[in-house]
């Protein structure tokens, strides 16, 4: 029989459809569809720096010049952005409060994770993944200084099915003048839990998951990776830091290596078990601490930054869109078992 499970953070219910239970091999055709012909021209490759806007940050070999080859990680603004930098926008309210809008200000940057086209993030050496993580931290610190940007989102789309238009390894950063609804709901729910129990819900969850162990995939001194109790999608994963902290920018030097290791572990396991699927990962963290609202001030205690990793194996359809309920054909305990037993090169 299937089981309904509730995610404590989002309040969302999912259906774990045990009778539809699938093995990793059942997803292989979908995963293999993601491999398309190579691109003829890649603006992210080393040597094509003239096809991107000027870099806003780069980790470079000593003696090399900006916007020239010789970089390890490079950050450039989106060439054709949907949001553009600007001062805090005024909200326009029309139709006696029915229609609210803001000017489209924001930041959209691309973080090019390697100068080489075919080196996926999971294939990069730990030292290079560390550089990518340090770059995330640098960009977050920099953009957080501008209080008109209320939330900064970092995400990665890998593979066409996950929304990536280029296979060159990259992630993106989008800063918005509002806190996105999903985050606002997560923050409220965490605050409610904190008000009731004087404890961060994630800290409690991590302790409980480590004690149980059946959804735990991997851990080191600083992080753990697990499948959540009520995942929307098969083989969905979460990466949690053990140290309570609401903002990614506060990550410490020693933790950066720990995160590089769990990221490599998580993505390599996914690649092995599911034949290199398309995936998305994204950061959930507190709103910009330099743009404090009443809620932001409470976030320090009640929220805990984390990464969510979603392999693209199934599609949301009418039931999911219409109800917000998700049907997941693989229980997280079964998924964790497969991911734990992955053979890593």
């Amino acid at each position: 029989m299937s089981e309904l499970r509730k995610d404590i953070i989002s309040g969302r219910w999912v259906i774990i459809a045990a009778e539809r239970s699938k093995r990793p091999d059942d997803f292989r055709p979908a995963a293999e569809e993601s491999k398309k012909a190579p691109e003829r021209f890649c603006p992210f490759c080393e040597g094509n720096e003239d096809k991107t806007p000027p870099e806003v940050y780069a980790v470079r070999k000593k003696g090399t010049k900006a916007n020239q080859p010789g970089w390890f990680v490079r950050v450039v603004p989106n060439k054709f952005p949907a949001l553009t930098r600007g001062p805090a926008p005024e909200e326009k309210i029309d139709g006696r409060g029915l229609f609210r809008s803001l000017e489209g200000i924001g930041v959209h940057e691309v973080i090019i994770e390697s100068p080489h086209h075919n080196h996926e993030l999971s294939d990069l050496p730990l030292a290079q993944i560390k550089k990518v993580i340090k770059t995330y931290r640098q960009r977050l610190c920099k953009i957080q200084a501008e209080p008109q940007y209320k939330y900064i989102h970092i995400f990665k789309n890998k593979g066409r099915e996950a929304g990536a238009s280029l296979s060159h390894p990259h992630s993106q950063l989008v800063a918005t003048p509002i806190v996105p609804k999903k985050l606002a709901e997560e923050l409220r729910s965490c605050q409610k839990f904190y008000d009731q129990s004087k404890e961060c819900v994630f800290c409690r969850l991590i302790k409980e998951e480590i004690r149980r162990g059946d959804r735990l995939i991997y851990q080191n001194d600083y992080f753990c990776v697990l499948t959540p109790f009520a995942p929307r999608f098969p083989f969905e994963m979460r990466v949690y830091p053990f140290r309570h902290e609401a903002w990614f920018a506060e990550i410490r030097e020693a933790e950066i290596l720990g995160l590089a290791e769990v990221l490599k572990q998580s993505l390599s396991r996914l690649k092995d078990v599911l034949a290199d699927p398309a995936y998305n990962f994204y950061l959930h963290q507190g709103p910009n601490p330099n743009a404090p609202t009443e809620q932001t001030l409470k976030v320090r205690r009640s929220f805990h930054w984390h990464l969510e990793i979603i392999p693209v194996l199934t599609r949301a359809a009418g039931f999911e869109w219409g109800t917000g309920f998700y049907i997941n054909p693989v229980s997280p305990e079964v998924a964790a078992n497969y991911l734990r037993s992955a053979e890593l090169k």
């Binding site: 003829r40 021209f41 603006p43 096809k51 060439k79 054709f80 949907a82 691309v110 238009s165 280029l166």
Partner: protein, 119 residues
Amino acid sequence: MKKKKKILVVEDEANLCLLYREELTKEGYEVTAVTNAQRALDLIKKGDFDLIITDIRMPAKDGVELIGEVMQIRRDIPVIINTAYESYRYDFLTWAADAYLIKSASLKELKAKIKELIG
């Protein structure tokens, strides 16, 4: 006499080809307009264009594929994407182009961008 700058327009709608040719010729450019990307590639291999203006949604080969191939032949020619669709803006392959414009009945923005890129 000053040499006219040469523009190649790639647009699958013949009436728009005519419009662009007429309007840009009035601005003092020498304009060649073709209705498919393959024909455009053949001309680029032979010709010495100063600028390419391309649509994206075209039968057989689309504008994104076209500019990818142009970069392998002549990466120094500036390219303007001129499309009716906003969605390709998020395709990083379009970064091979120098500008991304949304088609408009007024060619004011297009003319200004051409001036900015080639004078």
